[in-house]
């Protein structure tokens, strides 16, 4: 997977370009509710954060997790439960949900990093299916109905989140915060070691790095941020349901990242926006959405492996030469 991922960042030019792109992206998301439904944009931001968290693992450590829905969905359930049954304030409910997914990430990660490559993907998928059956059976998740009518509550007991602008601002802050955290991690010495593991694991071991520890840490971080996205989503839609833990959700986040560009900083955001818009406008087509998703998968893998953002970067490189 690494071959196509060689990054543009790192050079001074690339770094500056990424800063400009980040400001532009923040501006677009801040201004978007003037033209697009705020609820739709909040959905896009939740899934963009989810995809960025997933990308941290596949793009920078080379681990393909096919079970990220378990973190997204589990955090979503935990947050909904905490907000509705325990009456926690939204920030505490989100924190609780995120902590749950971090814990789950630690357990799942410790098991999954014992194998590499294809096995890693199968193990994460199987563990996620186990979590799915767990959520289907335990009473607190409400089975097929899910947890409905989750109160958004008052942020810090003070700001009423049922106002659209307040909720939107909170989601925007969470999304941009999560994005910056991932950006920071990727460009830190820790991130460099992750890339070294991706490129050549045995070499990283021979250099004295405790590879398993680094992988586990990256896995937990990715799970935590995926959980943060799921927790936020539960408050935005006031709903936590089985859809969020199902394997098709795991597939969807893979698709977003692949379409946007694996291992690029902005790719997952672009991919999430594209897939969400597609689902929004094609919703009346019913089961055809699955077919369209499948076709995009096949096209991306066969002809378009760099994804949208990856292609843009490659095009820029060609032009500069």
């Amino acid at each position: 997977m690494a071959a196509v991922l060689s990054s543009a960042a790192g050079t001074r030019n690339g770094l500056q370009r990424e800063r400009i792109a980040f400001v532009a992206m923040a501006a677009v998301f801040a201004a978007a509710p003037l033209v697009v439904y705020p609820l739709f944009m909040m959905k896009v931001m939740c899934f963009a954060l989810f995809a960025c968290a997933f990308n941290l693992l596949i793009g920078y450590v080379g681990l393909l997790s096919f079970g990220h829905a378990m973190f997204f969905g589990m955090a979503s359930y935990a947050t909904a439960h905490a907000a509705k049954k325990w009456g926690l304030t939204p920030e505490l409910a989100i924190l609780f949900g995120t902590a749950c997914s971090a814990l789950l990430g630690f357990v799942a990660g410790s098991l999954a990093i014992r194998r590499q490559g294809i096995y890693f993907a199968m193990i994460t998928l199987a563990l996620a299916q186990m979590v799915y059956f767990f959520c289907l059976q335990v009473p607190f998740t409400g089975g097929e109905d899910g947890i409905q009518a989750v109160p958004r509550g008052r942020l810090f007991g003070w700001i009423d989140l049922s106002q659209v602008w307040a909720m939107y601002t909170l989601v925007l802050v969470i999304f941009l915060g999560g994005f910056l955290l991932i950006y920071r991690v990727v460009h830190s010495p820790f991130g460099q070691i992750l890339k070294a593991i991706r490129e050549n694991e045995s070499r990283a071991i021979s250099l004295g790095y405790d590879v398993d520890n680094y992988k586990l840490l990256a896995f937990v971080l990715s799970a935590t941020l995926a959980g943060l996205a799921g927790a936020t989503k539960a408050l935005v839609f006031q709903l936590a349901s089985l859809t969020d833990v199902h394997w098709s959700m795991s597939g969807e986040v893979v698709l977003m990242t692949l379409l946007g560009g694996l291992g690029t900083v902005f790719g997952p955001v672009v991919g999430a926006a594209m897939i969400m818009s597609m689902e929004n406008y094609l919703a009346q087509l019913g089961a055809w959405v699955t077919v369209v998703q499948g076709v995009i998968f096949v096209l991306c893998v066969l002809a378009f492996r760099r994804g949208v953002v990856g292609e843009l970067i490659a095009w820029q490189h060609r032009r500069e030469k």
């Binding site: 997977m1 690494a2 071959a3 393909l64 096919f66 098991l111 014992r114 194998r115 490559g117 294809i118 096995y119 993907a121 199968m122 193990i123 998928l125 199987a126 563990l127 299916q129 186990m130 059956f133 767990f134 289907l136 059976q137 394997w247 597939g251 893979v254 692949l258 019913g286 089961a287 055809w288 959405v289 699955t290 077919v291 998703q293 499948g294 076709v295 995009i296 998968f297 096949v298 991306c300 893998v301 066969l302 492996r305």
Partner: protein
């Protein structure tokens, strides 16, 4: 009569269901292992191809009037042929790349196939009539044994063992094993390795389709039948390790039995027991029970 406080009838009934499920786990994980051995990809489409097998059998019966026995021969060939096309035009382009791309491609194909069937036939299951010769059953005194179920277990065992025999004990199998070890060298000896890879994929897909035909009279024919099953089979593959053919057969049957037993003694865990076993195996023997760490 009671055994461990459980009525014997319930116990044997669940064990039988376990053996049936085990037959399908074994057939499917065998196909996955054969494909993985030579192509180094995990065939995510396997579940969809199993579904396809059941649907093609259903269509043959209801549109062309071709019954179960004809379907057992025709369906694996037809679906296997679609596998050959997929390998030739799509998978063969990915061998130079990371193996994960094969997984992503086959996942996309699975979505397409599943979506198409759902569009055409809806989500509800379609019944498939059991062949006349296999209706009825034997009364063993302590339980009723339906003939069709016996047939599924025997047929699946026979197919699994003959596949094992071909791969481990014949000349053709020795080429295959050699190509798994070192494709370049085998090609240098004048054996057409790309064609062998294509046919191997077609064969693995055919096995999935065969499982689909055998499943059609037991379970309802529905677009989702393969989706969830394949994830369990992945867990079976992780437990067994993909190193040995016999390993995947043994693991498939025994996990089916364990699942059946769980249904008797602790039904709440029957959906998850295989995943829990997977977690334990990963802790104790990460390479899988029969696997070798690559």
């Amino acid at each position: 009569m009671e055994i461990f406080g459980v009525p014997a009838q319930a116990l044997f009934g669940q064990l039988l269901i376990g053996l049936i499920n085990g037959s399908f786990y074994a057939l499917l994980s065998l196909g996955l292992a054969v494909i993985f051995g030579l192509l180094n990809i995990i065939n995510f489409t396997h579940g969809a191809q199993y579904t396809m097998g059941a649907f093609v059998a259903y269509l043959l019966l209801n549109k062309l009037g071709l019954g179960y026995w004809a379907a057992l021969v025709i369906v694996p060939l037809l679906v296997g042929a679609t596998g050959v096309v997929i390998e030739r035009f799509m998978l063969s382009r990915l061998y130079q790349l990371d193996h994960l791309y094969g997984l992503l491609l086959t996942f996309g194909l699975a979505l397409i196939i599943q979506g198409l069937f759902r569009n055409a036939y809806g989500s509800s299951g379609l019944p498939y009539t059991m062949p006349e010769q296999l209706r009825g059953g034997q009364n063993l005194g302590f339980m009723f044994l339906p003939n069709y179920r016996v047939w599924v277990i025997v047929a699946s065992l026979a197919v699994c063992l003959s596949t094992w025999f071909v791969i481990e004990k014949t000349k053709l199998g020795s080429y295959l094993r050699a190509a798994t070890e070192n494709p370049a060298l085998v090609q240098a000896f004048g054996i057409n390795v790309p064609r062998m890879i294509t046919l191997t994929y077609g064969f693995g897909v055919g096995l999935a389709a065969l499982a689909g035909v055998m499943a059609a009279p037991i379970y309802q024919v529905s677009p989702q039948m393969g989706g969830d099953l394949i994830i369990v089979v992945f867990a079976v593959v992780v437990i067994g390790g993909m190193g040995s053919i016999m390993g995947s057969i043994v693991t498939g049957f025994s996990l089916g039995l364990i699942e059946g037993l769980t249904k008797v003694f602790y039904p709440e865990a029957s959906n998850t027991v295989i995943f829990i076993i997977m977690a334990i195996v990963l802790l104790i023997r990460p390479a899988g029970l029969f696997g070798t760490q690559k």
